[in-house]
């Protein structure tokens, strides 16, 4: 019997070796799998980014909406392609004099070459009932060759979505970069100025809003006339978890924003549950709660089951964020005497402190390939956004004392950070490159806070 087992084990091991060597042999014997139908990659002059031009799209239908959409798509696409700073976008007014082409078959390539364009994105827009049909081509100007071509049909109501889709596909096909033009930002705003009911003092309702990555299409998604804060996107972008005071005590709610349904997984009986954050696989939510008497970090399943306590200290522990693999959680604790950032394994083990400054909060773990944590750090009377590289321990500062800057949130590709700032008086949302360049203001109305960027 023992002998049989031994033989079995030996043959299993041999089989494993065979599989491994077989695999290795295969991978050396056959060349790397080709990506499907590699098309032209547009390059710039040596050492320079490729220069792109995006003229207005050509309206093939003459109704006002189509003509307007053709303009909107061209401008939005130029903005989208400009956002990642991987293309040198030629200002659109410099080629206003180049005559609009009648069709994609009659492009004046000489003129575009004269302008110094390496890449040229052209498209047509045609009405089809309530929809628009958009055809787009990316040409390499030198080769006069198409590098990319697609057709799309979508409702005419949101023409910017064509531009965002095209931009993300160009980033993917030209640079193998995941664009964020179709991502959204959730945030909190008091812009509607509605008064909270049931209080003697005047308090303004705060609700959850969403907008496109560039600040367009700002929309309200909660309507409970209460205090709603700290929204976070589920990884699939279909749900928002947030803290709401609609029942009195702050509790975690999940809105399925495209179905109009709401879940309240914990059903607070008076304990306070705050600051939900989804695990990268969307199955769990980490949050802050005082259910055991003082603020601690917990993890639950999405439906409120399986609550597990991750921290255990008489000081305050809160504001959790997941590592991209879901194996670690960073959080804020004031156990050292001031709020600082700590990292702990998702099993509650291997605790370590990673900041030693005057006051740090709202850690936000970057997505891969970056391995860094952005946070708010006190630098004077207010806060600035800083980033800690976890591999090198190096720290960089993205804002420098203009207003108070809080609540950083990473774009899905890790290349930009959204945050709130009082630099223009009221609190507004901004985005900035992870290097600290290219600041953009997203909101204009009311006070706006705690952005979260969809995955």
């Amino acid at each position: 019997m023992r002998r049989t087992i031994l033989v079995l084990a030996t043959s299993l091991a041999a089989a494993a070796v065979l599989i491994i060597t077989g695999h290795a042999a295969q991978s050396t014997a056959t060349p790397q799998q080709q990506p499907p139908a590699v098309s032209l990659t547009i390059t710039g002059e040596p050492g320079a980014l490729p220069r792109y031009a995006v003229p207005d799209f050509i309206a093939l239908s003459s109704d006002a909406e189509t003509v307007e959409a053709a303009k909107t798509i061209g401008q939005a696409l130029w903005d989208d392609l400009n956002f990642e700073r991987e293309f040198d976008m030629i200002p659109r007014d410099t080629y206003a004099s180049i005559p609009a082409a009648r069709s994609l078959a009659s492009l004046p390539f000489d003129r575009w070459r004269e302008l110094g364009a390496d890449g040229l994105v052209v498209g047509t827009v045609e009405r089809q009932g309530d929809s628009l049909r958009v055809e787009v081509r990316l040409f390499g100007v030198k080769a006069q060759q198409s590098a990319f071509g697609r057709e799309y049909v979508a409702p005419a109501s949101n023409s910017r979505l064509f531009a965002h889709t095209i931009a993300d596909e160009i980033f993917q096909t030209q640079l193998a970069l995941r664009g964020v033009a179709r991502t959204k930002i959730a945030f909190v705003s008091d812009r509607d100025g509605e008064r909270l009911t049931g209080t003697v003092e005047t308090r303004t309702v705060k609700e959850i809003y969403i907008c496109d990555y560039d600040g367009a299409n700002q929309r309200r998604v909660t309507v409970n006339r209460s205090l709603n804060i700290n929204p976070t996107w589920s990884p699939d972008g279909r749900s928002l978890a947030y803290t709401s005071y609609r029942r009195g005590a702050p509790d975690i709610f999940i809105s399925m924003i495209y179905q109009g349904t709401i879940e309240n997984p914990l059903h607070s009986k008076g304990e306070e549950n705050f600051l939900p954050v989804w695990s990268p696989d969307g199955t769990k939510i980490a949050f802050q709660s005082n259910r055991d008497g003082n603020p601690e970090v917990y993890v639950m399943n999405r439906d409120g089951s399986g609550i597990r306590r991750l921290t255990n200290h008489p000081a305050s522990d809160g504001t959790p964020t997941w590592s991209p693999s879901g194996t670690q959680v960073a959080f804020t604790s004031d156990r050292s005497g001031s709020p600082q950032i700590y990292v702990v394994g998702a099993d509650g083990l291997s605790l370590r402190q990673i900041t030693r400054e005057s006051y740090c909060d709202r850690p936000t773990w970057s997505p891969a390939p970056y391995n860094e944590i952005a946070y708010s750090a006190r630098t004077g009377p207010g806060f600035d956004i800083k980033v800690l590289d976890l591999a090198t321990g190096e720290r960089r500062q993205l804002t420098f004392g203009e207003g108070s800057n809080e609540s950083p949130a990473y774009a899905a590709n890790g290349r930009h950070i959204a945050f709130s700032s009082t630099r223009a008086g009221k609190r507004h949302l901004y985005t900035i490159e992870r290097t600290g360049k290219d600041l953009r203001q997203l909101t204009k109305a009311g006070n706006n806070q705690t952005p979260d960027w969809s995955k």
Binding site: Q144, V153, G198, E201, T222, G248, G318, T319, E406
Partner: protein, 194 residues
């Protein structure tokens, strides 16, 4: 041969487009249908991409139905809270420690609660704007809890006192001065049941 396949081919494409447009109306999530990229086409003879147009859609946000008011709000409670006999407790910067002055105020509040034994109160913990929005939620919570702990030590039943942290979300004074901050670092008492 070409013309023989032309018509059925068109029918298939039209049916497919109709299906995908129909799907848009049903608000399905954005479709990322793999489409074969077109072969590199030269300027002289641009050919149509082989695949039918790619439907792109974005789901429509559906606002949830408004919740019925959960909060008890009666005129008489408003009257009590307008001229509340329960006084606020103020705090020093970034601490939830009750000062000796705060203890005197809580002693008074405890007397009021003893005289009005059916009252249930909520202690709201508030912070000034100088901390972060997130950390202030924890700080406000501890401010409310420390007042409750003190009142319980004076003999008030714990289940008569609820706590809620509002962090820095609802300042009493919207100003940005030391005077405003001092007013905003407080425990605020609200009678929620009588």
């Amino acid at each position: 041969m070409r013309s023989r396949w032309g018509l059925p081919g068109m029918v298939v494409i039209v049916a497919f487009v109709a299906l995908t447009v129909g799907a848009c109306h049903k608000k399905v999530p954005p479709v990322a249908r793999p489409v074969q990229p077109p072969p590199p086409t030269t300027f002289a003879s641009p050919t149509k991409p082989p695949a039918p147009p790619e439907p792109i859609s974005e789901p429509v946000v559906v606002p949830p139905a408004p919740f019925a008011e959960d909060r008890v709000s009666t005129a008489s409670l408003d009257e009590i809270n307008k001229n509340s006999p329960l006084k606020p407790v103020f705090f020093n910067y970034d601490t939830a420690e009750i000062s000796s002055e705060g203890q005197k105020i809580l002693d008074g509040n405890a007397e009021v609660l003893k005289k009005n034994s059916p009252w249930i109160v909520t202690i709201e913990g508030h912070c000034d704007e100088r901390g972060t929005a997130e950390y202030n939620l924890a700080l406000g919570e501890r401010r409310a809890v420390s007042a409750r702990t003190y009142l319980v030590s004076l003999g008030i039943l714990a289940d008569r006192i609820r706590t809620v942290s509002y962090g820095k979300e609802f300042p009493f004074d919207p100003g940005h001065s030391e005077a405003a901050w001092g007013k905003n670092r407080r425990d605020h008492f609200v009678v929620t049941q009588k």
